[in-house]
């Protein structure tokens, strides 16, 4: 079962965004506001309850310079370990796949293998190298991702990719867990006389005391 991107933001409202004051202006959109980015969100059957979207994908049309900050918790989840290796291996990335429902943390070698299979399957669909696909997971700790549901959803998720505000909004909803609101924002500013855009989405409500490096 897969809901469409158009339905995604009906599940929870958008968060109020408390941007600090500065020389920028807030613009519509989140992760797709900057040139070259597409996003999508859909329900792929990973959540234990309800049909709120639970799979999100963000892609870039070109090799994007990539950076990451990750939990310093020694018991890091499989996707965290995978992403750190991928970012050590290459300075660029093309896609970020995110699932909600299962955190894939404390799942051992089997959980890591799930990440490898997920990134490889998406890389094949997008005709990328596996290390160009980064993975984030959130949800119940100790549970592996529902891999078959995830893999079966990937073709539809790729087809839903869009550079629109709706694409960004549906992705922002799809990464939420106990969140009551989705978090997405974009700004436009001048850097060296050229207009640039920075956008983003985030999720989080509980188990929040980040210490990322």
């Amino acid at each position: 079962v897969a809901s469409t991107a158009n339905e995604a933001w009906n599940y929870i409202p958008a968060a109020p965004i408390f941007l600090p004051e500065g020389s920028w202006k807030q613009i519509p959109g989140g992760v797709t506001a900057a040139k070259g980015f597409n996003a999508a969100g859909m329900y792929g059957g990973l959540r234990a309850k309800g049909e709120k979207p639970d799979l999100a994908l963000v892609t870039c049309d070109v090799d994007a310079i990539s950076a990451g900050a990750f939990t310093t918790n020694v018991v890091a989840a499989a996707p965290v370990i995978y992403c750190k290796k991928a970012l050590d291996f290459t300075p660029t990335a093309r896609a970020v796949l995110i699932n909600a429902g299962q955190a894939n943390a404390a799942t051992g070698d089997a959980g890591y293998q799930d990440v490898i299979e997920s990134s490889s399957a998406l890389a094949k669909l997008l005709q990328l190298k596996p290390e160009e696909v980064l993975i984030e997971s959130t949800g119940v700790i100790g549970q592996r991702i529902k891999k078959e549901a995830l893999l079966n959803s990937l073709p539809k998720l790729v087809n839903l990719l869009s550079p629109t505000i709706e694409g960004a909004d549906s992705a922002a909803v799809a990464i939420t867990t106990t969140d009551l609101v989705s978090k997405s924002v974009a700004i436009e500013s001048e850097v060296g006389g050229t207009r640039i855009r920075v956008g983003g989405m985030a999720k989080g409500s509980g188990m929040i005391h980040p210490n990322m490096a």
Partner: protein, 220 residues
């Protein structure tokens, strides 16, 4: 767990981008707290397409790098504050500002200590302008400062100055907290610990009965 994906069309080298992202994360996501539990999955991934047509930023000390850093800080802080605002069971966002420290890192550490204090959070939920709990959390942050220089304000209400508690209108202060809770607004706690140039911010939320209810029912 908190997750984030950040995108930009600015053109920047890998080395500079990775440093900028860590700085912005330290000023935003690493300065929020809801319950003191550090997740196994916290991650922020930031991608720069370079398609804006801007000049390539290859030095952290350039004016262009500073401009982009400010934009990155703003977006990440906006998202981070939304996470704290949406903390499980929260009725309000708490913003803690610390000034007068010797450097940004020390101020940030004190600010987060106060934002993560369970007793301070519970006091805010109880609409109790409890300067003692705020002072206590500042004091155990691990950053030495002269207690005689401690100054604490709640919104515009000065509660402590020169390390001494001040007379204040308790009803007005309590009402400030109550109004923030009723509107899911923001409680501002401002702390000064001396005359240094360092300042920092942290964000949290109040601690309500609902936090326990939500997490008692969200099983592993």
């Amino acid at each position: 767990t908190m997750l984030g994906v950040i995108t930009t069309d600015a053109l920047v080298t890998s080395t500079v981008w990775r440093k900028m992202v860590q700085v912005a994360v330290n000023r935003s996501f690493n300065q929020i707290t809801v319950d003191g539990d550090t997740s196994t999955n916290d991650a922020v991934i930031a991608l720069a397409s370079g398609l804006s047509g801007s000049n390539k930023i290859s030095s952290l000390n350039s004016s262009e790098a500073k401009q982009l850093q400010e934009c990155l800080d703003a977006v990440m802080q906006g998202l981070a504050k939304s996470i704290a605002w949406d903390g499980e069971g929260a009725t309000c966002l708490i913003e803690v500002t610390v000034t007068g420290a010797s450097c940004e890192a020390e101020a940030a550490k004190i600010a987060r200590s106060v934002a993560s204090s369970s007793l301070t959070k519970a006091a805010v939920y109880g609409r109790d302008p409890n300067w003692g709990r705020i002072a206590c959390a500042a004091g155990y942050a691990g950053i030495p400062f002269e207690a005689s220089k401690l100054r604490i304000s709640l919104g515009d209400i000065l509660l402590m100055d020169g390390g001494q508690p001040l007379p204040f209108d308790r009803a007005v202060a309590s009402n400030y907290l109550r109004k923030a809770g009723e509107t899911h607004g923001t409680v501002k706690i401002q702390i000064s610990i001396g005359d240094g140039p360092g300042s920092g911010l942290a964000w949290g939320c109040d601690l309500s009965y609902d936090y326990v209810k939500i997490n008692a029912e969200y099983t592993t």
